[in-house]
């Protein structure tokens, strides 16, 4: 019988964690090759911005972002399943992971597609719009 807060058996999650792992491995190799080997040097706003103008990098970075967040969230959820035994707290913890994950996906995607992203930990100056 399924118990609340436990969810599915996790076979799909288990399998997809390996698939996304392989994707992230490929992304990691690309990242090191292009950003730390072929284009080694100072990381500044202009450099990152210029690179993000190219549709190829926008696509790669969006894919990288979504895959990394999924893989990371799923990894944390695997830990929650192992150490949180009360169904209620499991549900709370797993929900929190997805809410935070979606927030990060939104912030990251907004940065990649050149929208203004909220900077979570920065306290806005008086009178400043939080999204500025």
């Amino acid at each position: 019988m399924r118990q609340p807060g436990i969810g599915s058996g996790g076979a799909f999650d288990w399998f997809f964690q390996r698939i996304t792992g392989v994707v992230l491995f490929a992304a990691l190799v690309l990242h090191f090759l292009f950003l730390h080997y072929l284009n080694a040097g100072q990381v500044d706003a202009q450099g990152v911005w210029d690179r993000l103008q190219h549709p190829f990098w926008k696509t790669v970075d969006l894919l990288f972002l979504a895959t990394a967040i999924y893989h990371g969230a799923q990894g944390v959820i695997m830990n929650i399943r192992d150490y949180f035994h009360k169904p209620f707290w499991r549900l709370v913890a797993v929900s929190a992971v997805w809410v935070i994950g979606l927030g990060l996906l939104l912030a990251g995607a907004m940065t990649i597609i050149n929208l203004r992203a909220p900077n979570f930990f920065r306290i806005p100056a008086p009178g400043e719009h939080p999204l500025n």
Partner: protein, 124 residues
């Protein structure tokens, strides 16, 4: 109850610890990059992250990423390609490969930390 820590269990535990560390890094990374809309602020953050403390932490990040990525390959090898009988041996072979990549990566990082980014990469 006493656990008998063998290679496979230690590998699994380290995979968890490095994975959780990488999640913390990912959250901070997305936050830092999202300050890109303010170039001056972004460059200030980058200069702050160029301090020796963060250069040192960055070498730790390389170690975490390498461990998680390479042990991930071992996990897939064991799960899908019949590596379970030799999993401990595979672990130690990959550990040597990982250590070599770590040293190759850490040397330029230390050079940059000591001499600044103008030091350039070492040529092998």
């Amino acid at each position: 109850m006493r656990y008998r820590v063998k290679t496979g269990m230690a590998a699994w535990l380290l995979h968890r610890i490095t994975g959780l560390g990488l999640v913390v890094y990912l959250i901070l990374h997305i936050n830092v990059i999202s300050s890109l809309h303010d170039p001056a602020g972004f460059n200030k953050v980058m200069a702050f992250l160029g301090s020796p403390l963060f250069r040192f932490l960055e070498i730790g990040l390389l170690a975490f990423v390498l461990y998680h990525a390479i042990n991930g390959i071992r996990v897939i090898w064991v799960d899908f390609f019949g590596g379970s009988a030799q999993q401990a041996k595979i672990f130690w072979v990959l550990a040597v490969v990982g250590l070599i990549i770590f040293i190759l990566g850490a040397i330029p990082m230390i050079q940059h930390g000591v001499h600044g980014l103008d030091a350039g990469f070492i040529h092998w």
